[in-house]
Symmetry: C2
Subunit: 431 residues, 2 copies
Amino acid sequence: MTTALQTGDQTSDIDADMMALGQRARAAARQLALVTTESKNAALGAMAEALIAAMADILAANARDVAAGEKRGLSSAFIDRLKLDDDRVRAMAEGIRAIAALPDPVGSVMAEWERPNGLKIARVRVPLGVIGIIYESRPNVTADAGALCLKSGNAVILRGGSDSYHSSRAIVAALHRGLSQVGLPQEAIQMVPTTDRAAVGLMLSGLGGNIDVIVPRGGKGLVGRVEAEARVPVFSHLEGICHVYVDAAADTEMARAVTLNAKMRRPGICGAAETLLLDRQGLDRHGPAVIGALLEAGCEVRGDEAVQALDARVKPASEEDWSLEYLDAIISARVVDGVAGAIAHIERYGSHHTESIITEDDSVAKRFLDEVDSAIVLHNASTQFADGGEFGMGAEIGIATGKMHARGPVGLEQLTSFKYQVRGNGQVRPK
Amino acid sequence: MTTALQTGDQTSDIDADMMALGQRARAAARQLALVTTESKNAALGAMAEALIAAMADILAANARDVAAGEKRGLSSAFIDRLKLDDDRVRAMAEGIRAIAALPDPVGSVMAEWERPNGLKIARVRVPLGVIGIIYESRPNVTADAGALCLKSGNAVILRGGSDSYHSSRAIVAALHRGLSQVGLPQEAIQMVPTTDRAAVGLMLSGLGGNIDVIVPRGGKGLVGRVEAEARVPVFSHLEGICHVYVDAAADTEMARAVTLNAKMRRPGICGAAETLLLDRQGLDRHGPAVIGALLEAGCEVRGDEAVQALDARVKPASEEDWSLEYLDAIISARVVDGVAGAIAHIERYGSHHTESIITEDDSVAKRFLDEVDSAIVLHNASTQFADGGEFGMGAEIGIATGKMHARGPVGLEQLTSFKYQVRGNGQVRPK
């Protein structure tokens, strides 16, 4: 571990160390691409057991991180995300076992067809290669990401926050014991062995072609930096400014229940609703029920004038509110003119993450689902379903709002690429 | 059109012009995403007709480019790629009609499933958005790329070589007339209105988030620059160092015919074989027939010592030869130890494009197809099948060797992304 202040020599040491780490990851990725599902699952099982066996070590390392964090005056919310206990370590082990139980995407045939000349063409899933994960304080990302990358046949380079450094190191040590038990290379899961920030910059540069994609996990500051500086593809969402649009043709009770859930079930997740759009035509019918339910549940509502007129407890919204991801028990609310108005608002202020329409009119719903340019568009369901587990994809490594390669929940399949395998019996191309 | 030498003011004009062009492309892309298949096909038909109707203008513009090129002493091969005639313009129009006849990927359901809570989830294809094409002297790329992007619902920004500037401008003018006839925005297909190289740099920066992917079409110099400097995703292959491996268990006649076709059918395409790998165990049986056929066909063979020993006409290969893409009637040839040796050679020297194994042993073939990390791997077939048309995908915009999003031939489907459309009846997420 090096200090934050680097001399020229130390910096070039980090350069060389990181490049070597990238090369080891690439070599491990080549091996992993050919490992059987059985071996990978055996390794995952051994990793889960090793985590439980290392409980004391992990909790001791975590206590060291927590003490340091408290000394530095980190917020109680931060300390809560950082802190491990018996149950949380067990949950990590269970998470790894659940990933073992998922189908292995590698080697699956995505499509196959035969050409008139007899060539048989198959599109077959292969791993992406080396995944870089850059995350903040949650030590459980170490185990989750390590397991997802292993199951999808990828090597992973983990760079966790400096605040959880010792916890992550103890977790990785346990994962390594699991890998070794079944003869898989420890280099399949590598942790950046320094908290120096220069290491992040080097990862963003791709370590000489040895990182294929980077997944940032954390707040807007981290994700924004990764998106702006990465020289390799990134699977990420900067923010989730998710909308619920209550159409005139909505069922009022459904609108109430879905909006309440979309905002208040867990206000701090990326799929939580941040803005409520109310159709002017249905405002009198749906507005009081929906706004009233939010207020009763303790949600602050910031509305335009028409929404303020519905309830004295509604606070005025400013122009800025339409672009805010509160991640808290606050929602902005405004009146729009029908589905066209909702689509235009979302296009202007949204983050292409997840939006929902509540309506009994299927043709209006179809227009919303077709025209809203977001990773996930829902009809008559809560935005809080924006989650790989809820989609039936198993664990996810994150949610992507880009359109390249992965979009929406990034699960095992999204961590793969493909190749074409073509089988012939001597075909040559004419002319 | 501006000159190559820019003053500060002119450069900032280009900046502003290109940013405005990007914004127009984004606006057009939003419209195009919602256009019906029928409208797009009608536009393609009108574009094909407009090309034929503009024959005289296009040939006159092309004559101007050719005259300027000859004056500057461009090679005859270059002039040949640049030069248009009646037949070549008709072929462009036919190419556009063929793209109209392909299935529209947009809106197709890639997968759908229902969750235990009744949510119906569908993964639906949507356009990528705005595609940037940077190409060299072939004016036909203007029409092909314009048509492929339109059919896949994407807006396109075309930046052709300065040598074909007037030809491309005349072609784009015809395409615009076709678009207008059916009421589609001309901004769907925009050409960079300058030959200034600064415009390429601006495209590589993504025009403020208004280019989603760049496809370079041209030589290694162009592709290398785009790959190194682009700040947005790139679909490309730097080179096609394609291998044919003749296993001991090959059928000699098949090995002869496939190798000859893989190299000599068209030696200058990216799927042409550049290196022949001969299994040491089968060298005496297959070597003389395969090497002899290449030499008889006028191919220069550069071999290692064992291959030189087969025929006096074989020239010595240097270490450098294993990394060369000749794009000519030249092949390097060496002896390897079985399929493992072939895989190791390809891993070390290959370009992840296309490789073929010739063998009657299916288990050896399986190992080659599984372990060789290339976009296309073939068993008993010529590498010259590396082509979207030969794959049954219709026209292609290029071949990609990266693993993100597109790999192998980049056809209409590869120019799309997807979204999740989720239909419920009031579902809220529990807990």
